[in-house]
Subunit: 410 residues, 2 copies
């Protein structure tokens, strides 16, 4: 079986979500991703949530399928080994992925002295190199103010900017490596988390709407903007999201609920052309009024029976527990998932890459490494060090093997 990125080697010096997710996404496509951490772990090594053993489920989930090397990065010797790993020869190696600042030995210019065609990908907070995290980027994005029903901003819980940044890093890395194979040149690539946010706000048309129309999207609860959609409460206290973008989807709602006649009346009552997205948006109050009692009179199971296979675009709301228990897509029946034994955590339903390559190029999900679990193997394979030399590095405290898992603070 071939894995799509087989042969590519990336050295990652990172913490938290974005850069680790970038490295993990490449590892899930077959790249060799070596994450270097300080001995004892980086600042994210004990982040919540934790398993009873103290193993961070956060860290384990974001570092699956990587190799882990633990080095005394606070010593010149430890940094020298890191530098050697980053700059090690190989046409498909010499790639650094990091969210650490560019100062000192980790800077692109400094590392390029060891390997002229080095590719480095660096995530920063802001484009001027100053710090920012998902939370402090998100608050400026306009989305929390546009979310919910009133003036108080509502943060979404999903670290969406971190996720997008991690995937931009993958794209930038593969683009730079592609260019290097053509021109032999190394490259320094930077990505600011706030630029990911700002580009997204622009790409979705929000900046243009302000600039051209002076429009600032107000919060509208769970109503879709410019189309028909909202959540509805069911008789058993569950909720369902229902959406109509196409006319076919819209007609399906009337048919599946048996409310087509009443919905027609809603359009006439509101002087709206319900054959258009804008008309349905304008008349949504009346449409929702017709639909609400239909949902309120039915359990989620009854709603499901009525809507499944009807052509209605809809879905039930689930909490994380319901997602794992109820959703057949969130189970080993979905070829993306397998149950993986994660040391320190136990068997966990674990996703591989969502990218599916026809013909068997999809790697099954792997557990996260033990911190330092690959130190000796990587030093031998990549740097050609002998067992004796590796032993001396252990004795000197310059490198470490697998650390005991545990700890109770995040």
């Amino acid at each position: 079986m071939s894995r799509i990125l087989d042969g590519l080697r990336v050295v990652e010096v990172s913490a938290f979500i974005a850069a680790p997710l970038g490295g993990m996404s490449l590892a899930q496509l077959g790249a060799e991703v070596i994450r270097i951490d300080p001995i004892g772990g980086n600042i994210d090594y004990r982040r919540w949530p934790l398993a009873p053993s103290g193993t961070s489920l956060y860290w384990a989930s974001l570092n699956k399928g990587k190799r882990s090397v633990a080095l005394a990065l606070d010593t010149a010797e430890g940094r020298e080994i890191a530098r050697a790993l980053i700059a090690a020869p190989g046409e498909e190696a010499g790639i650094l992925l990091t969210n650490l600042p560019a100062s000192g030995w980790m800077g692109h210019a400094e590392l390029s002295r060891s390997r002229a065609d080095l590719i480095s990908l660096r995530l920063t907070g802001n484009h001027d190199g100053s710090g920012a995290v998902d939370y402090t980027v998100n608050c400026a994005s306009g989305f929390p103010v546009a979310t919910g029903t009133d003036e108080r901003p509502v943060n979404h819980v999903l670290p969406a900017w971190d996720i997008a940044a991690g995937l931009y890093l993958c794209t930038g890395l593969l683009a730079a490596e592609r260019a290097r194979r053509r021109d032999g040149q190394g490259r320094e690539v930077t990505l600011a988390l706030s630029d990911v946010m700002l580009a997204s706000v622009g790409n979705l048309g929000y900046l243009a709407d302000v600039a051209v129309n002076g429009n600032v999207r107000p919060p509208m609860g769970n109503d879709l903007y410019g189309a028909l959609g909202r959540d509805f409460r069911t008789a058993d206290g569950r909720s369902a999201m229902i959406v109509a973008i196409s006319n076919r989807q819209w007609r399906a709602i009337g048919k599946a609920t048996g409310l087509a006649d009443k919905l027609l009346m809603a359009g006439a009552m509101m002087d709206a052309d319900l054959g258009t997205e804008g008309g349905r948006f304008a008349a949504r109050g009346a449409i929702f009024a017709v639909l609400e009692p239909w949902f309120a009179a039915r359990t989620l199971a009854e709603v499901t029976s009525a809507l499944e296979g009807s052509g209605v675009l809809w879905g039930p709301y689930r909490d994380f527990g319901q997602l794992l228990r109820e959703d057949p897509r969130c189970s080993p029946d979905n070829p993306m998932f397998s149950v993986v034994e994660q040391p320190g955590a136990g068997p966990v339903l674990t996703p591989g890459s969502p990218l599916a390559f026809a013909g068997g190029d999809r790697l099954p999900p792997a557990p996260a490494p033990a911190l330092g679990g690959d130190t000796d193997a990587v030093l031998a394979e990549v740097l050609g060090l002998s067992s004796a030399a590796i032993g001396r590095l252990h004795d000197a405290g310059t490198v470490a093997g697998p650390a005991p898992r545990g700890g109770t603070s995040p």
Copy 2:
């Protein structure tokens, strides 16, 4: 100036956000991205928000820097031209990006008959090929239930799954093209929008927390989970997000606000070790009680003066208008942005790629094409058609040039 993906050609047959964003992200790195639409535009061509001219700011924002070809895809002749464009020769061509179903002439097997090493990237709703959109994927993710303060689910307004899917498509496309250059093989790559969501929920540790601990994250308003952070209201009715992940950031809060002594008392009062993330999370109620009056007594400008340069990790909330007016990162001072004249919309502050390549590889942002604006040029350049042949296709209604912009329904 070299552009990082120079030479790569992608044919996109798409609509809405994810696939268009994927193609646009590649175009912003220098790839030639040819978007094929039906004559008159695809289902997303008039989506809200609109400019007064009727131009869709949504469409224009998501299709910047592409070439546009308009074909009568409901005719055999139109589909034949699309097939020829997708399968046109060239080592760096033969790549299709689409969110259309795999049936009929657009299927990978069928297209591969014209070009054996074809790469196709296809976004589906669910892994079984059934339909889903961001809204109906998001409701099942657990995030809306965990967002806000009470039981009613809160949808975030950001189409986060679409954005992540677009970027996964970029990654998958570059990975498949890299593999093709090594083994000469075409590949069929599929990505399900719901798999993007499910993988993300797993990658962030939520599935493991349920599986291992039985924990289902409850809604906690704007409080961070497992660390210290929340929004605070200022004297002038604005809000600011404040976060402490590291101990250094935590100490900076006490210092910048002059409240270090009171915060120490909060820790003692709550029997919490405020030198740990978990301790600060446990004592957050008392900590917030100390900080609230400090913010409530100050305007956002005063808060900014006190916190800027203090080492405190924080940011102001902004709506989309405030983002454009107030945030210096959202201006031409940020090298990612330029003011671009978008036909039908006017001058708009427009982002390029957030990926910055040192040494001038970053393309300035470009406007979106007119629908069909590149039809003739692409038919001549890629298929080698003569002006006479192109003229005959126009006469037959098989292709179309630039369509008049306009229309008022989304």
